[in-house]
Subunit: 459 residues, 2 copies
């Protein structure tokens, strides 16, 4: 049986015989008895296994090393003196041993940098086991939120020839042999010889295809891997990450904020309800006050304020900014931090200067701002970014021309405005950013099982 | 409100005023009244909107064309003479019109081939709307099955430098400029100049990384896009498709078959329960008997038989085979078909000749077969393929040497056997193959919203 089921139904199994398979996470043996810290990875909790020299292979058992796979049969009993439970073993069998050069020994606490070097083993540590379980549960919470509300999960393509982020930020994909590239008559590489008969990429967003789906299903979401070629070695950049991109027809910017707020609260609450052990572990060892921070978010009301009014607040603040706040500019990390502290909670910042935002966003009536919204969250910065989309065909084309966006590859996307177009809005949430917020773990490399960053693509 | 909610609570809304936004799927106007076939895409059902010349913009409404986005306010009433419901409009507003060159007109039935050319619009047709909604619901059912049972959803990397399928079947990924490739001193392309400092690929499987996760969490599953470079233009091949790859520690081949069978029945039942309208639609227009086929699967017990015994049956069959059955060979499509018809249901075929299977599969004690299993399903052929993995470090290395598999890139994978290794098993299910089975739609291009096949990477 799984420890997960055991810990959910302790009363049912008390004083009963059970058999479990898992791994030795720690081992202390005395002359006549021993304790095994046992985990099978199905839940945050470990179970203490107690064995004594009544067992015929007692001497052998005392030598079972940390990391070994074992099967234990025994009786679940209450521990003496505490409220905890332990397993009084009647049989302990070695299934797979683990040599002394196993990198995860009990002594010393390996650094996170070292653990990144052994990414294939680190899910066995308490920290990473908890992080990646929260990753799984949070992913499910996102699916559950949208599916319960009738959204269609849209599998937008990864390989693409169109992208709204610009192809200079995209990985090229090919089946051609780099050392034997076909050339055209001008001596350029002949991409018509590639599998798709043209240059293709792996995508940085599912938004364009998501909009096509929203024009059929009203409410859709994507949830899948996305890619950027950025050569940044920072705590928040990875070349491969997961994104959630909902898109909703007949929904304006206010409706979008309602959805963003409701979804985030749902997901955080779901994780609190289903990963309490993990959250308390992070609270203790990673970010003091994490549980309170998350609980507060669930019960807070998010502020909604325009970019213009945010700049007012920043200008009036009695602070010497590194970057001077400006009505026509983006806001810096220091500003984000100040604003979420100023309002003591999450803040939607709306109506951004059009020049710093994307071409597909709806220009407001003032002609200067777009109906975009960023959600700033205390301690995490920008968690989601969204906008109402330009639904007017002519205005969209005009804006593309102004901004030098090539129409040809996205003509089908523009056509969505011609054929029964309507007010619609969508947002993107970087899944890893959410996980950094949920776990307190600061580095994106530590919330992705096998992270890809410049120069790093092991495993 | 959404039609989905309306159709779930018809009694509640009967004779009440409601407002809905969606699209005109058909329109018939008479002199003094008109009917709009209205859909908002949130459910399979459409709603009939009735309007008459009491409305002040009656003349305008009669001109609203198919495909247009509209908002309707009205009272939900029972249709005269039938058990159905309709909306008696008090207000109909045009939100976005749709010109006469809209490719999806009511007259004539466009071919699936034509609809593939307008992949961004085809989710608006009854068929594709139903297919991609089933895709969404089936995806969720898969998540639900595994999450309810404590599996961890493992996000294995898409970009990788190791792969157990062989790099000749993988797309290369790069940030290098094809027309200006850096060269090393031997005149070869210098891959150390690429973003990851070496040649990287987009993956064909998450299995290797999944095994690492299973050795920490006991039970994991992956669910994400995978890629193959095959240049096949067949009904069942696409270059980008989605796979589910569960991996379970302390689980042998029999345990694996239990999981495969339970999961498949769960997913099929979930789709029957939640997409009955869609299934009945497919039953009527795509595959007669589909609903019965699916219901039967849920209630059947899957046969388990060895490859050897299957060959016996094939040899004894009074049939002139195109491909002669052979104990040492794979079985052909004609054999798959015969066997599922022979047993009149799904069949697990176990213990395959080792020479036709992968290097990581556990060799049975006979030294000739491996503990692999394929699930053959009536009408769909091979739906899942799995195996018990070789958990013995030395035997694995020996097998790799025999089969000429390079150890260096998968050394970490082999190490999983050294550090607390144990009996473990896993399988892969191609999600599109499941969808073909669930919908009766035969071509993989028609169950993927934006399919990628050789020469085809539009949108």
């Amino acid at each position: 049986m799984d420890l997960r089921d055991l810990f959910k139904n302790l009363d049912e199994y008390l004083n009963k015989e059970i058999t479990i398979c898992g791994w030795i996470r720690n081992h202390r043996d005395q002359k006549t008895f021993g304790f095994i810290d046992f985990s099978d990875g199905t839940c945050h909790e470990h179970l203490q296994v107690v064995y004594n020299n009544n067992l015929e292979n007692f001497e052998q058992i005392t030598k079972f090393s940390l990391g070994s796979a074992i099967e234990v049969t025994g009786t679940l009993v209450e521990s003496e003196g505490t409220q905890d439970y332990e397993l009084k073993a009647t049989k302990v069998t070695l299934l797979g041993d683990c040599p002394g050069d196993y990198p995860l020994q009990a002594k010393g606490r390996p650094t996170r940098e070292f653990l990144r070097e052994i990414a294939y083993l680190r899910p066995r540590t308490n920290l990473f086991q908890a992080v990646f379980r929260v990753r799984s549960v949070a992913a499910y919470a996102i699916h559950k939120y949208f599916q319960d509300r009738g959204y269609v999960y849209a599998h937008t393509p990864l390989i693409t020839t169109t992208d709204c982020e610009g192809s200079d930020q995209m990985f090229k994909v090919t089946t051609l042999d780099f050392n034997n590239l076909p050339k055209d008559k001008d001596g350029k590489v002949d991409m018509t010889k590639d599998l798709f008969s043209k240059q293709s990429y792996i995508t940085g967003t599912g938004q364009l295809h998501g909009e096509a789906m929203a024009m059929a299903y009203k409410k859709i979401y994507t949830f899948g891997p996305t890619f950027r070629t950025e050569k940044s070695n920072t705590k928040t950049h990875a070349n491969e990450f997961w994104m959630i991109e909902p898109e909703i027809a007949f929904c304006d910017l206010n409706g979008l904020m309602d959805i963003e707020e409701e979804m985030l609260k749902f997901v955080v609450k779901y994780v609190l309800d289903n990963c309490l052990g993990e959250i308390e572990f992070f609270d203790k060892f990673v970010e003091k006050g994490l549980k309170e921070k998350l609980t507060k978010l669930v019960n807070s009301e998010f502020v909604r304020i325009s970019h213009h009014d945010v700049i007012d607040i920043l200008k009036n603040a009695d602070i010497k900014w590194e970057f001077a706040p400006d009505y026509g500019e983006d806001i810096a990390k220091e500003h984000e931090k100040y604003i979420t502290e100023y309002f003591n909670g999450p803040v939607f910042i709306t109506n951004w200067p059009k020049d710093i935002k994307a071409w597909y966003m709806k220009v407001n009536e003032d002609g200067e701002t777009v109906a975009a919204v960023d959600l700033e969250v205390p301690g995490a910065g920008e968690l989601m970014g969204g906008s109402q989309r330009e639904e007017n065909y002519k205005k969209l084309l005009q804006r593309m021309e102004e901004m030098g966006v090539d129409k040809e590859p996205v003509e089908w996307f523009c056509n969505l405005r011609k054929f029964g177009g309507c007010v619609h809005s969508g947002f993107g949430m970087g899944f890893e950013r959410l996980l950094i917020y949920l776990t307190g773990v600061e580095n994106i490399r530590d919330v992705i099982p096998f992270p890809r960053t410049p120069g790093n693509c092991e495993y």
